[in-house]
């Protein structure tokens, strides 16, 4: 009896400990961001902030060029994801639905490309961009970010396209649709969750990218949020309140997207489409 109680207890106790371990850093980021400075630099940590202040957020967003960084990050990320989706949709349709010579080769090629060591190639990319006189511009960033997420987007969408039942497409074509129309009216709506989840992961990668922008764009007008955040702590000494407010601002869009979109995006839309 005693043993079975223990047997039921330890997984739950471990789960609680693990939960605290995984959540605490995220919690501590938000908690510090909202705490008055006095509570941040107290000898004993204030675990639960009682006085809430927005002072740190004001300081973080009051930095020179803050809104430039925000709009740069948004422009670069959204454009990269958008272009990647369009290019990948065409490619993944071919890979999932058509038989042709060398298809397997293309798949392997994109799998290799997905593993590309971008972190190591920055010197070459710097030289290429410099020779093209495009340093401190958002264009090379957008284009390279597009490439960083393209292989993943193609390979993931391929799975989603293949999961759309072929009968639906054929039925539409029997009803008089051309292949292009069938694609637009039948497959595309069913692909919506797939498009959402792939663009989510693409968004995260582009939003997070640091090494390339670190090397390419030295001027403040062309920098993005990751660069701002990574230099924030150095620039502000040990102002942890403002640093954590900056981190929170940077992380919140991703956390929201991830937590809410992932489940929605993963659940298939096609489940009931063929029945009946």
């Amino acid at each position: 009896m005693k043993r079975s109680l223990f047997g039921r207890l330890w997984p739950n106790v471990t789960a609680v400990v693990l939960f605290i371990g995984f959540v605490f850093p995220v919690y501590w980021m938000f908690a510090t961001a909202f705490k008055p400075t006095g509570d941040i630099i107290s000898e004993d940590p204030v675990w639960f902030p009682t006085d809430v202040t927005f002072e740190h957020f004001r300081k973080a967003t009051g930095v020179d060029h803050f809104w430039t960084y925000v709009s740069n990050s948004l422009i670069v990320t959204l454009c990269a994801v958008g272009f990647a989706l369009v290019v990948a949709l065409a490619g993944s349709f071919a890979l999932a639905r058509m038989r042709f010579k060398g298809r397997r080769g293309f798949v392997i090629g994109f799998m290799m490309a997905q593993m590309a060591p971008w972190e190591v190639m920055i010197i070459a990319m710097y030289m290429i961009v410099r020779d093209a006189s495009m340093l401190n511009s958002l264009v090379p960033l957008t284009v390279f970010y597009m490439m960083m997420i393209l292989p993943f987007t193609i390979l993931t969408l391929r799975g989603f396209v293949a999961a759309v039942p072929r009968d639906l497409e054929e039925a539409a074509m029997v009803d008089g649709c051309t292949r292009a129309q069938a694609f637009r009216k039948v497959i595309l709506p069913l692909l919506a969750p797939g498009l959402m989840s792939t663009s989510l992961f693409g968004f995260i990668t582009a939003w997070n990218e640091l090494p390339l922008v670190l090397v390419l764009n030295k001027e403040a007008e062309a920098q993005t949020l990751p660069l701002w955040l990574s230099s924030f702590q150095t620039a502000f000494g040990n102002d942890w309140g403002a640093t954590m407010a900056a981190s929170s601002l940077f992380a919140v869009p991703i956390l929201i997207l991830f937590v809410f979109l992932q489940r929605k995006a993963v659940s298939g839309l096609t489940a009931g489409a063929v029945k009946g």
């Binding site: 995220v26 994109f110 593993m115 972190e119 954590m244």
Partner: protein, 328 residues
């Protein structure tokens, strides 16, 4: 790095069993030739982008590695070929080998920790009741979703010398010498912080996917095992483990590749310091090349790193492709 959060999908790829060129009987030859070209045309933009934006930088990297390219040459825009001098200098120098060994050890420690702890958490998820499982899953997803740069900044704060929570806890636990400890002051303590950060970030991927994989194990297998008199441990080694083996192989290699090129965490926590003692290969290539402006040398280091990664990637792809063939 975050993008490859999913195993490359291996869904029903070969759905297309029929020939694409003629679903509706015979067609004019021109039309069927156009149909045969369609897949290549659809793939053209993606392939062009890959060649231009990935192939060219790779080639450029190789070309640069055969050049004497420092600050002077960079400013004057001159190209000075120097054969294999960069490689000679890198490979005969002590630094490169020391950094390589360090990278391998760093990767090994991290991946072992990630895989063992991740697998344990995954198995725990399978054992928990529904409410506790959802709670733990929420925690894991939060850690998983945390952007790398933000997570790194938070860890700097957790391990801060003054007012950092970790030092406070260690002090309260009776380790008073840690009360004002500077974690970035020594090689091992810096690596410790980076390792905790990477393991914390990586466990959710392994645990959640492993849990998802265990739910696909047919229950009959366990019944059969228990009929044969197998205990908990025995049924784990004879049913669970063989079932998960392909998944574990693929994930291990994915983690090796990711950890090996963990530039952002190492670079942001301490810039490869103190005294360049925590540089791993990608950081070393960056600091030699861009930081110290020995661009040719940096490119040579990069090429060597890429070769190592290529070997790892090829091995990973072999595992994944074999799996995909078995599934189809």
């Amino acid at each position: 790095m975050t993008v490859q959060t999913e195993r490359p999908p291996s869904g029903p790829v070969d759905v297309a069993k029929r020939d694409e060129s003629g679903p509706a009987g015979p067609r004019p030859r021109a039309a069927s030739r156009a149909a045969a070209l369609t897949p290549y045309l659809l793939l053209l933009p993606a392939c062009a982008a890959t060649v231009l934006l990935l192939g060219w930088p790779l080639l450029k990297d190789v070309l640069l590695s055969f050049q004497n390219l420092n600050m002077a040459q960079l400013i004057q825009h001159v190209t000075e070929w120097n054969g294999i001098d960069n490689y000679k200098e890198v490979l005969t120098g002590e630094d490169f080998w020391r950094v390589t060994l360090r990278s391998i050890l760093f990767t090994a420690v991290n991946v072992v920790l990630i895989m063992i702890l991740g697998a344990l958490v995954g198995l725990l998820l399978a054992r928990l009741g529904k409410r506790m499982r959802v709670m733990l899953l929420i925690g894991l997803v939060l850690a998983w979703a945390m952007p790398v740069v933000a997570a790194t900044t938070v860890y700097q704060w957790l391990f801060a010398q003054r007012f950092g929570v970790v030092n406070w806890v260690l002090d309260k636990l009776g380790w008073h010498s840690m009360a004002d400890y500077s974690w970035t002051s020594s090689q091992m303590s810096t690596f410790f912080v980076v390792t905790v950060l990477i393991v914390w970030m990586s466990i959710p991927f392994v645990a959640i996917n492993l849990y998802a994989a265990t739910t696909t194990i047919p229950g009959e297998l366990y019944e059969a095992a228990s009929l044969d008199g197998a205990g908990a441990w025995k049924s784990f080694t004879t049913v669970t483990l063989p079932f998960l083996r392909p998944f574990l192989y693929a994930t291990t290699f994915l983690e090796i590749i990711w950890v090996f090129k963990a530039f952002v965490q190492v670079f942001t926590i301490n810039g490869g310091g103190p005294d360049r003692l925590t540089e791993i290969l990608p950081v070393y290539a960056y600091i030699e090349g861009v930081g110290n402006q020995h661009y040719g040398m940096g490119a040579a280091i990069a090429v060597l790193t890429i070769l190592i990664l290529l070997g790892l990637t090829a091995y990973y792809l072999r595992i994944v492709l074999k799996q995909e063939e078995e599934e189809v």
